[in-house]
Symmetry: C3
Subunit: 130 residues, 3 copies
C-alpha cells in the first residue's frame, strides 16, 4: 500500500520507525514517549508534563495526516503507575475536547523507564474522511 | 471522521471514554473490564464469570455498530495470570462459534486489579460490510 | 464481514485462533511467538534467532493475504527484556528494508515465557491496495 509517512518537523523521531503513517484514510502512530528533539526525556517523572508533551507531539503527527484529535478512534496508554491515570486522562481530555475515543490503559514494568524517568507512552489510531 | 458512538444502554460506560466507536466500517472498542452498571467489579477473581460478563458487554457494543462476533478481526486479552487463559479461551469461543479471530494475550501486573479482584480485560476490532 | 483466513501451510497455528485475517484491504495478525510446526519453542532464549523465525512466519502470513512487509502500517513487539530490543530492531529491519512502520515495544513479565525460553512476540497490521 502506498502510504504517507507522518514524521513532522521539530519533534523527535526514532531512527528505527516512523512516528506515524497514513494508509488509505487510517492513521497509525507509534507508541509515543516524552522525548525532546534530541531524544532526551522531558520532565522526568512528571506525568502531567509528559502527557502534555506527548499530546502536543501527537497533534502534529495527526495534522501531518490531515487529522485532529476529533478523528481519533482509539487511544492506548501504557504507564508505570496506575496512580498516574487520573492526571493522564485529565490532560488528554483537554486536548480531546468533547470527544472521548475508546481507551485502553495498560500498566507496564519497564526498568529503562524507571531509570530515565519516563512515566507513560501513548499511541492512537485515527480515521479521516475519504 | 464522523463516527458512531457505541455506548449501548444497560452496561457500564466509563465517564472518560466511549465503550466503542464505528468509523467507516470498522469498530474499535475500549479495553473492557468486568464492571456492572454501577461500576462494581463482577464476580471478583472468577475469571470464567468475568469473561462471560465481558463477552456479553462486547456483544452489545458490537450490536450497536451492526456487528456480531463473526465480524471480529482481532481480539486482545490482558490478564493477571496466564493460568486463566485456557478458561478465557473456552468462554470466548462459546461466543465466537466457529470463528477464531487472531488473538494476542498479554500478561499484566496491575495492583489495582489485584486489589479489586479484576482478572482480565478484553478489547476487539471488528469490520462490517460496507 | 466476509474475511480471508490467513493460516498458510508449514507454520504453526494455534488451535484457538487464526494466525491472521484479511478484512477488506486490512490484514490483522495474532501476536506471534517463536514456535515450530509442532508448537515447540524455537531457539530458547535466543532473541535474534527467535525474531528471524517470527519474521519468516509473518512473511508467509502476509503473503497469504497478498501483502509484503512493505505494506505493514504498525508493528507491536512484546519482550521479556528491554536489552533485547536492539537486536530485535536490527533483525526486523533486515526484513523491512527501507520501510520503517510505526512501532510500539512493550515489556512484559510472563513466567510461562521465562520457563519455555520465549523472549518475544510480534504482531503487525498491514494494508494492501484495493
Amino acid at each position: 500500500m502506498s502510504m504517507k509517512i507522518l514524521n513532522p518537523k521539530n519533534i523527535y523521531h526514532s531512527p528505527r520507525y516512523y512516528s506515524g503513517v497514513k494508509a488509505g484514510n487510517t492513521i497509525y502512530t507509534a507508541g509515543r514517549v516524552p522525548l525532546d528533539l534530541e531524544g532526551n526525556v522531558v520532565a522526568p517523572n512528571d506525568a502531567r508534563a509528559q502527557t502534555e508533551y506527548i499530546m502536543e507531539d501527537l497533534k502534529l503527527i495527526l495534522a501531518e495526516g490531515g487529522a485532529t484529535f476529533q478523528d481519533v478512534v482509539y487511544v492506548h496508554t501504557y504507564c508505570l503507575y496506575g496512580e498516574d491515570m487520573p492526571v493522564i486522562h485529565e490532560v488528554r481530555q483537554r486536548y480531546m475536547g468533547d470527544h472521548y475515543p475508546p481507551h485502553t490503559g495498560t500498566r507496564v514494568d519497564n526498568p529503562f523507564w524507571v531509570e530515565r524517568g519516563i512515566r507513560l507512552e501513548i499511541e492512537v489510531i485515527a480515521v479521516v474522511e475519504d
